[in-house]
């Protein structure tokens, strides 16, 4: 399952739906990314821009690669775009595997590739205006460990 959407989602409901009907699965790992606002850097919203057609294709390719590499039983990715307020879930990745290490590795692999290869761009909205979030070289490093 791949969902690119500007509608809010319920992380728990998504997990429940994903896990059902797989008696051969022993382990599920779920990653949820949320909009963060801290006292040091308070933001009023996060605005995500997206190229939906490309997002769909690239995420599908990353998902297929993860399933093959870690022998996953299933993997699902949901990513939102649009304007999100602090605390709101931005995206969720879920993996299902016979055992825990494959489920953890698969989820981390998906996250590392999504960070650098999925066409989304974040803008932070504060009291004083909006600012594009800069890409982190740490994200490239995280992705490159899988090469």
């Amino acid at each position: 399952m791949i969902i690119i959407s500007n509608a809010p989602f319920d992380p728990g409901a998504l997990l429940t739906e994903f896990q059902n009907n797989h008696p051969e699965a022993g382990a599920a790992v779920t990653f949820t990314g949320m909009v963060r606002s801290t006292p040091e850097r308070p933001i009023t919203a996060l605005i995500l821009e997206c190229y939906p057609d490309l997002a769909q294709n690239e995420i599908a390719a990353i998902r297929t690669a993860a399933i093959a590499r870690f022998n996953l039983i299933d993997a699902a990715i949901l990513h939102r775009y649009g304007r999100l307020v602090p605390g709101e879930p931005i995206m969720q990745v879920m993996t299902l595997a016979p055992h825990r290490q494959a489920a953890f590795d698969g989820a981390q692999y998906l996250m590392d590739y999504l960070k650098t290869d999925a066409p989304f761009w974040k803008q932070e909205e504060t009291e004083t205006g909006t600012e594009w979030v800069e890409a982190k070289t740490a994200d490239d490093t995280a992705r490159d460990r899988w090469r």
Partner: protein, 83 residues
């Protein structure tokens, strides 16, 4: 040929897309970017560090060496910050 711009590149150019007709010698994405930059000062400046951009052809990320035709939709993608 359709060219799409995203995020801060779109903002700096003040438009989300262009329709262009490159000359026949523009065969690859590399050629296209060189030609676009030569004809657009704002784009040339915004792409001063070209290696940070990824390019897509018909909604797939492809290498800069990829061949293109007039029927393709190309996107110029600043470093992504999703996830």
């Amino acid at each position: 040929m359709k060219i799409l711009y995203f995020a801060w590149l779109r903002e700096r150019l003040n438009r989300a897309s262009d329709d262009v007709t490159p000359p026949a010698e523009v065969r690859t994405l590399n050629d296209l970017i060189t030609w676009l930059r030569a004809n657009d000062e704002a784009l040339d400046l915004a792409m001063a560090n070209p290696k940070q951009f990824k390019l897509s052809k018909n909604a797939r990320i492809v290498p800069w060496e990829t061949e293109i035709t007039d029927a393709d939709t190309i996107a110029i993608l600043p470093p992504m910050t999703g996830g």
